[in-house]
Assembly symmetry: D2
Homo-oligomer: 304 residues x 4
């Protein structure tokens, strides 16, 4: 077993003085005000101990990281039928995401890009009695933490300004791949993106994906085949147009969000969460990506 405590300390020491920390996302007005000096890491291991450093206990907007959680719920609810409405291939296209949707007749490339996550949101709006409440209950249960909540200001901020997501949802609707009202689905979608967690909560929430479907309390959420699919999707599609680069440099399944959070995991070993609000040019947390790369390099632990 590597000395994770020493590794985290070393990474934090190396990176915390970094001046170029990327750019804090400004397209969601509510997120633009976050302090770019924040930087935290948390590791939860299957063997028991956890490790943390820096701003690991400050909550942030998890944004796209939430797509993995709604996907988990949807897979549990509708099973394989989900894949009739969304594909499992990397999007591989930095240029024009709506184009692909058009070319492929309204079937999103995968559930971790926006259009795919909107289809997943539509499934949950159809299947859940109280979609927002039920999502919150699911996440709180996974993390065993009732304090996790939506940030209503962030959600409303996106409802007012998320025109590209409105475009995607309407395009899906025009192809018959959205069963509920655009506004209703996006209200749910923007709320899921507004979920706030700190690094420790994020690690605990994703624990079941590293632990063959069981959360830290031993409750089973999905079967092994479903866990394998989610991890495979995170590896190939979790980092926008930097997925290939992340696969090489870090070598772990993971998911990033524009709030600056990243979660990654090594099956049967650990979950690691990082938070630093500044983003690199590809839209992923700059310090987070560097921290994860150093973590797998120093620990010599990766899936490859």
């Amino acid at each position: 077993m590597q000395d994770f405590k020493a590794i985290l300390a070393a990474i934090h020491a190396e990176l915390n003085s970094e001046v170029d920390r990327g750019i804090v996302a400004s397209y969601i007005p509510e997120l633009a005000t976050v302090d770019s000096n924040k930087f935290g890491i948390h590791v939860a291991t299957m063997e028991g101990p956890s490790y943390c450093i820096g701003d690991w206990n400050q909550p942030f907007s998890i944004q796209s990281v939430s797509k993995v959680l709604t996907l988990s719920i949807a897979m549990g609810l509708v099973g394989e039928s989900l894949w009739k409405r969304v594909d499992v291939e990397p999007s591989g296209n930095p240029f024009n995401h709506l184009s692909l949707l058009e070319l492929e007749s309204g079937i999103p490339r995968n559930p971790l890009i926006n259009s795919g996550a909107i289809v997943v949101a539509d499934v949950l709006v159809s299947e859940l009695k109280n979609p927002k409440e039920d999502l919150l209950a699911y996440v709180r249960d996974l993390a065993n933490d009732q304090s996790i909540r939506f940030n209503e200001e962030v959600a409303q901020s996106e409802i007012r300004t998320g025109f590209k997501n409105f475009a995607a949802a309407n395009l899906l609707k025009s192809f018959g791949n959205l069963n509920n009202d655009v506004d209703e689905v996006l209200d749910f979608y923007f709320h899921q993106c507004s979920l706030e967690m700190n690094c420790a909560q994020l690690s605990k929430t994703f624990y079941f994906l590293a632990n063959r479907g069981k959360c830290s309390r031993g409750k089973t959420y999905l079967n092994e085949s479903q866990i394998k699919r989610i991890n495979a999707l995170m590896l190939s599609c979790g980092f926008y147009d930097e997925a290939g680069e992340f696969g090489f440099k870090v070598g772990l399944p993971g998911k990033s969000g524009v709030g600056g959070g990243i979660v990654a995991l090594l099956p049967n070993h650990f979950v690691i969460s990082t938070w630093s609000p500044g983003l690199n040019i590809k839209g992923n947390s700059k310090l987070g990506m560097e921290a994860l790369e150093r973590f797998t390099t120093k620990s010599k632990l990766s899936i490859f």
Copy 2:
């Protein structure tokens, strides 16, 4: 001078018995109920006489034909500055119209495709005091006919189901190329598309484009350079993905609509309007296209 009366009679006789009249547009529920046996033609000449045959005096939904009229108003109001927000090139892309918009950073290819016409609608919503009333007044003035009106049922039908246009408007908005609210612009846009005219009214409305800017009563609407630009745009962009084919077979600037109407013109000579609701595979009126091709072939009159 050709014998237009005889030519229209011959064309009507040849085509009116046609069994395969194409498919009536069904994506706008209100349009799906139109009788596919309707077929009318009207010609207005600069020399004075008019000619008509068949169902020339029955009103239909002019749909995309209206894009030329709103473009005319916008050119008069904002002049050359319009071309910063919309280009003048053929779209040339049957596959993915939103893709092009994405690739070209929210600048529509031309004002006669939907996204371009939505930008033009946005200009009018900004510039006109009472956009819908002012549009109606402009059209009634051009045609010298106060009976021209919107079809509110058709407009509402599109507001409920025009998801692809909502996608386009939101995408424009995300690129900063829509200044007003999406719903407000599309309310105007769907109303302009719902304008109803018969063939005679359509010929009179478009008379000024064949007559160097002057309507049949002699009032000047646009300067010669602007008229030239509109005619050039109709020739290269007026028939969706069939523009090249129309340029060859008919050889006149023109514009079609999914309501089955087509208007075309030979500068300094005539305007011709046709109506038959069945559409060919490219979305243009099947009998209308054939009628126009026969008209220019029989009369030996075209711009080429």
Copy 3:
């Protein structure tokens, strides 16, 4: 009848002192050495008289202008069957011409883009006994001028460096839309592009397209329907990604080449040829485009 002599004199006076004359094409090494100060215009009228000014009698490489001539031969040889192998729509895509070819299964958008002209060249290689000699004979006959010739250095220069054309030809071959050897077809294609003419020869060569199929000596080359199609194609596809702009500003069917030549025509009235080697950002002769725009503005003659 306008005073063409005075108009040409005025245009030449206005433009010849222009300092910013665009950039001489350098991708064909042999063309890069041409003097960018050259500027000539020639007009041939159906009524008889011709007009010329500047460097109208110096030969230049006609390059893509030749595509209209090979198209004319192919239409005469194989008729309508040509359109099974090449479409008649504007390409409308500044980004990726080979992409369109791939998306559309090897059917080029029109015969005036490179891939389309290569298909036309393939037709001529199949149909003509001695393709290069027969092409030369056809052109000399049209112009009634035996001095017109290929520039072998230019042809060889392109054979060595025209990799994008080799890519297009191989892609066509992979889709089964090239019947002869890639090297043989491109040898012919690069020779046609290397044809040299001066402005007067160019006007005479294209005379038949303005004169309903008859050359200046009265010999008929194509029927009126074929002439109409070629003129329609030149209008919608003759100026690369600037076709729409040219249609508006000039309002004549025409064709440009990277050698700096442009030919345009008004059916039943005149053919006008210009030459200035510097190209604008869209790849068309900068002074030539401006000269043509001023010519139709001053003469008030255009198809619109």
Copy 4:
């Protein structure tokens, strides 16, 4: 340790009676004649023992599987500078591979698609004294087997008919991303694709990629970071448009070829090679994909 022998026996029994074995590739004439009933599997473990069943000892054309081997050589020769000429992202585009190359200015998406492998071949033609002989020596050394050879008939067959690869190489050349002659690079490329191995040779050749850079005899070929990158690339890009699906269903880095061979590996554990010539609709061996899916399911061994 799972009982690999029993697992292979079960898989072979289950699949060998399969009637629908996919379609043998016909676009390379020499490959079209292979017997579609062939089916073999071979597993080499890091612990020592090997396992095999069926037609594991019959040689086949490894085709695209060879791309991993030339990539390995190139990474050893030019290091990180390779990534200036080829990217590491999934292509994600079933529609138009040359389009992407055009959109991205001649930088292939990754070294495991054809255009990327052609750039790698260009590197080897530049760097190796006797490219074909040196490649053969490298592969024979990896496998410790001097009998491995090119199939000259297959190579010549592709040289005559591989027009799409000629298109790709010429397009690369036009963007300045090919330093040697198109014909010379493709002669090398088609030879690498024509390499013949049986399943056992393939497992031994790829052993070093599962064994942190060391072949079965203990010789080190690449450092751990390079091995990690190659495995990451195989996972995200090794199966054309089915990479995501393979990542989920099998969960191993791997590479397929149109000759019907597939090789996959679990780092530190094993290499598995399968061969069955019939391909599924995505171009990967139908029985091979099914065998690998069953192997990781039965053994519960995968990277996820």
